[in-house]
Symmetry: C2
Subunit: 199 residues, 2 copies
DNA sequence: GGTAGAAGCGGACACGGCGTCCAGTTATTC
DNA sequence: GAATAACTGGACGCCGTGTCCGCTTCTACC
């Protein structure tokens, strides 16, 4: 890449970071970014197809760091700890990521974009591995179900519309992690705590 | 409402239903609906602010039926069954709704629209009640976490990009229902199946 | 059953973002 | 240092949006 192109790329990313942080990330347009970065619109189009792609690029940097910690870091996030602990640690780390860069995560969400990213594939593989290790059944469907609560939209709703604290969300996810990695619940079908004359 | 207005309203809804069903629901514009319904654009704006609002109206009809079944229908969907069974039955019913009207659910999704609907408030209250009955802790945060796997986007991804069957998703959600309504997992913190010299 | 008044209708308008193109400019290569 | 390839950004046409206003159609009242 040419030196001037690299400089512009940095300018664009820096300006976009600012823009996404201030105000509704989903309303940021290419024109906004171009104006803030001091470049023409076509210059951005050369590298990024949409504003969401710019947000994704910024977000990816942080996600890669977490991926590294998962693959080669210390337990319980890294290898070595039991699945329940690793899953809980992963949830906690993701809450940290969401909390710190929610604007980017929201800006990167355009329709179904979340599932199409490479990052999602990584999370999927990781959680699938943990669930398998824990002996969870219905693996293929369960993986995405377990990842669903990490949707940026949901986190925004919980935090800023319901006013739930970050610690509470982390605790609830930790509980979920233990529950889904636990063996089959006792009683199998139903715990008869209610009077109910069946069908 | 005047008779001609009611007739146009029906025309709009019928045309929109068709449109959402064929092709990408998220790309349906007011212009599309107006053309298909044979009315002017402003006529639709009189009653609906966005295409998503039209989809929501259509979806609401189906959701109200399910709400009725939950409040006054037979167990396990209706009152009387144990929480685990009711939650599993609710999940199964929601999968049916998603499967039958996915295009509407996707069309109704504009940004954070999902959480703002009255329907979501109902689901939230219902699941909260069930979890409370089951003695789940971290209730407030857990409710939305448990509802997260029902996001239309996710269902579309699982069904049509991963190719997971409806039955598998239903089974996995049933498993989740039993797990989250079960008591605290044995071992509390970690099941020591791995060697790990922690801090 | 005729008429006054209101409610509904839809074409027209201005706006803004999108995505592309191309002519001028700047960096790299030989 | 000249040839060549890459980059840049202003300009253009397109499409959807949301609103406005003159015209039409219905309804309620006499």
């Amino acid at each position: 890449m040419r030196a001037d192109a690299a400089r512009n790329r940095r300018r664009v990313l820096a300006a976009a970071e600012q823009l996404f942080a201030s105000g509704d990330a989903r309303q940021v347009t290419m024109e906004d970014i171009a104006r803030a970065a001091g470049v023409g619109r076509a210059t951005i189009y050369r590298r990024f197809p949409t504003p969401a792609a710019v947000a994704l690029e910024l977000l990816d940097e942080h996600e890669r760091r977490l991926q590294e910690a998962i693959m080669r870091g210390e337990p319980p996030l890294g290898p070595g700890a039991p699945p329940a602990d690793r899953l809980a640690a992963y949830f906690e780390a993701m809450v940290g990521l969401l909390d710190g860069h929610l604007h980017l995560a929201l800006g990167a969400e355009t329709g179904n974009a979340r599932f199409a990213t490479g990052a999602y594939q990584f999370w999927r593989a990781h959680v699938r591995h943990l669930l398998r290790e824990a002996g969870t059944s219905e693996l293929d469907a369960m993986v995405d179900i377990v990842l669903a609560p990490l949707a940026p939209d949901l986190y925004r709703f919980q935090r800023y519309e319901l006013g739930i604290g970050r610690e509470q969300i982390t605790a609830a996810l930790g509980l979920l992690a233990r529950k889904v990695t636990a063996g089959e619940p006792p009683g199998g079908r139903a715990q008869a705590t209610h009077l109910h004359t069946g069908p």
